[in-house]
């Protein structure tokens, strides 16, 4: 023992420094590799913004800010008259309705799976939800086109139109005539498409709630509902909102499925059963055969979607911060 410790002591200071510096080098390399990976995201993002701005510049020069509130989209007019109001409206409305449906349903599934579901049913339901995420968006589009659209137009929409006929505001929102291709159809498809994002992430974060907390709550006589409402959700709020943000990002940018079923009309209608369009659907439809100012206008639409997504996500972050502050009190 003594001999051994002597050896170590002898070698001690010298080797230790060397070993430490080797660690240091490794650490430094690791630090820079990760830092560069992180910075590359910013660079790529910057590159995208710059090329979008360059591509959109002719349209920006031509239309200026009025692009934002012009509803006409007449690429074949001379000169073309282009405005983003229709697609912006469609993007926001479809995403909003999709989230309105997907958040409660997604959270409901997640709560059921983690808190209430019998063990044997957990895997089938969990897998079904994850399969939803694996279906290609074009399949959703086709399903919306051939199955959901006819059902909505022949059954659901006439019913809603009848119920809300003459009711102020709601009557205008659910106005006829029913249509296979509509904002509402697209919103429903979007809701189904973003559901797995919300559900999977919520399930994962619900599992991180320490059992002790829940057990303590049950111990003082809380019902399952009270546990979920007062323990599970507050504890995992940040994670849930993260999942919702991911879902919202997808809903704002989804292209293929929406292009199929939204009806691609640039006119704004108060009714959600009327055809509309979204920014990404407009770009996907018209980009291939566009040129000059028309193409530049489409790129400007892309830039707008970029900015729109940025602001929506930033607003969500802010909301989260305020929530946390409130919780901190």
């Amino acid at each position: 023992m003594a001999v051994q410790s002597d050896v170590i002591d002898d070698a001690g200071p010298y080797d230790r420094a060397k070993a430490l510096s080797a660690f240091k080098l490794g650490d430094l390399t690791f630090y820079w590799i990760t830092r560069l990976s992180a910075i590359s995201v910013l660079l790529i993002l910057g590159g995208i913004i710059v090329s979008l701005i360059v591509g959109a510049f002719p349209a920006m020069k031509e239309y200026g800010l009025s692009f934002l509130w012009t509803q006409r989209w007449a690429p074949s007019a001379d000169p073309p008259v282009l405005g983003a109001l229709g697609p912006m409206y469609g993007t926001l409305v479809t995403s909003f309705i999709a989230m309105l449906i997907a958040i409660p349903v997604g959270l409901g599934i997640a709560i059921f799976l983690t808190e209430l579901c019998p063990q044997w049913l957990r895997r089938p339901i969990g897998m079904a939800v994850e399969l939803l995420a694996g279906i290609p968006s074009i399949i959703y589009g086709m399903w919306g086109f051939f199955v959901l659209g006819p059902f909505l137009a022949n059954t659901f929409q006439p019913f809603m139109i009848k119920i809300f006929d003459g009711v102020p505001v709601l009557g205008a929102i659910f106005a006829g005539p029913p249509s296979y291709l509509s904002l509402f159809n697209a919103s429903l498809i979007l809701a189904i498409m973003v559901l797995p994002f919300i559900t999977s992430i919520s399930v994962d974060v619900f599992k991180t709630v320490p059992p002790v907390l829940k057990e303590a709550a049950y111990g003082v006589g809380c019902t399952t509902w009270e546990v979920v409402r007062s323990v599970v959700i507050p504890y995992t709020r940040v994670g849930i909102i993260g999942g919702v943000m991911l879902a919202l990002g997808r809903a704002l940018g989804e292209t293929m499925a929406v292009t199929f079923i939204i009806g691609n009309s640039f006119r704004i209608s108060s009714s959600i059963f009327a055809p509309g369009t979204t920014i990404s659907a407009a770009i996907a439809s018209e980009f291939a055969e566009s040129d000059g100012l028309h193409q530049s206008g489409l790129i400007l639409l892309g830039l707008l979607l970029f900015v729109l997504t940025f602001f929506v996500l930033a607003a969500a972050r802010l909301m989260l911060l305020r929530l946390e502050k409130k919780a901190g009190k």
Binding site: L181, E286, A288, S290
Partner: protein, 336 residues
């Protein structure tokens, strides 16, 4: 220029394929792709010479031939003479298609209903909204029409089909011309947009009381209810190969430099009013003269032997008189 369109990806596609392509390369319009590839197949069997055609869209085809990355470009919308002159290009029509209005009304069979351009334009302008409108009834006194709202269906993507359809409406209706005009993508006053000919076909077959326009081949293959049209001569015609060919032969090709003829609303008792040719573009003095000659050989072969194959796929071969003229153009313009 309406026809100068770009596809960002087109450059990439052409660049990556030309590196290991067959002796002749072409790129452009998607509409003639099935017949070009069928011809290429048969040609290869017969002569051993291959042809590589990339269907990247008319705009892409024009871009590619201007950039000289392909032996020939293909476009559904012809270039104007001054543009051809500027780029040193020769242009001629290769094969034709036709666009037919299709409807889905209960009890109405294919060919029963008749429209004229004015009525069609007014439906697409949203001025005529019900099937039992007086204007439609006047044209169809013997057809029972429901008092239902018309669902108007049109293309959502930019397309040569839309270009030819709106070109026809512009010729038929001053109102359409001033309010909407012509183009591959226009400001539609009403209706829902569906993607591609297949999207419009699908929509029409599903939606009751709808109207749309598709390439003849799609109407035929999907057994859609097409309609007749009143042509420029005031005669009612049905969409048949004879009617399409009549439109092509009645068009005055000889006086059109670079064959710049848009085949809509042509004169002649038998002419179908919305006929459209798809065009080939080639450099008069190509960088690779051997390839240019090879391509001409292929086109000559296709004109001579390809008519039947074209008809099988519901395309319309160019009439002989036009082909003879094109042969002369080749001899005069394409330098070997």
């Amino acid at each position: 220029m309406n026809f100068l369109k770009t596809i960002v990806a087109a450059g990439l596609v052409a660049a990556s394929t030309s590196a290991f392509a067959a002796d002749i390369t072409g790129a452009g319009a998607t509409f003639p792709f099935p017949i070009y590839s069928k011809w290429a197949d048969a040609y290869k069997k017969e002569t051993g010479n291959g042809l590589n055609y990339q269907s990247i869209g008319s705009g892409g085809g024009i871009k590619q031939i201007q950039a000289k990355t392909v032996t020939f470009g293909a476009s559904d919308a012809p270039l104007k003479a001054e543009q051809l002159e500027k780029d040193g290009l020769a242009q001629w029509p290769m094969v034709m298609g036709a666009i037919v209005p299709v409807v889905n009304i209960e009890g109405v069979k294919a060919g029963e209903l008749v429209f004229d351009g004015e009525t069609l334009a007014n439906i697409y302008l949203g001025k005529i909204t019900k099937w039992d409108d007086a204007a439609i009834k006047k044209l169809n006194p013997n057809v029972k029409l429901p008092s239902e709202a018309i669902t108007v269906v049109r293309r959502s993507d930019g397309s040569g089909t839309t270009f030819n359809f709106t070109n026809y409406l512009s010729k038929a209706s001053a109102d359409w011309k001033s309010k909407v005009g012509e183009g591959t993508a226009v400001e539609w006053p009403v209706g829902v947009g569906a993607k591609g000919n297949e999207g419009v076909s699908g929509n029409i077959s599903q939606t009751k009381n709808s109207i749309g326009y598709v390439e003849y081949a799609y109407a035929k293959q999907n057994k859609l209810t097409y309609t007749g049209l009143v042509n420029k001569a005031g005669k009612t015609v049905q969409p048949t190969v004879e009617a399409f060919q009549a439109a092509a032969s009645n068009a005055d090709w000889s006086k059109a430099p670079g064959y710049y003829v848009i085949l809509t609303d042509q004169p002649g008792d038998k002419s179908w009013p919305i006929t459209a040719a798809t065009f080939i573009l080639m450099h008069k003095e190509g960088t690779d003269k051997a390839a240019s000659q090879e391509a001409i050989k292929f086109f000559r072969w296709a004109f001579k032997n390809g008519g039947k194959m074209a008809e099988e796929l519901d395309y319309i071969p160019m009439p002989d008189s036009v082909v003879q003229q094109i042969e002369k153009t080749w001899a005069a313009e394409i330098k070997s």
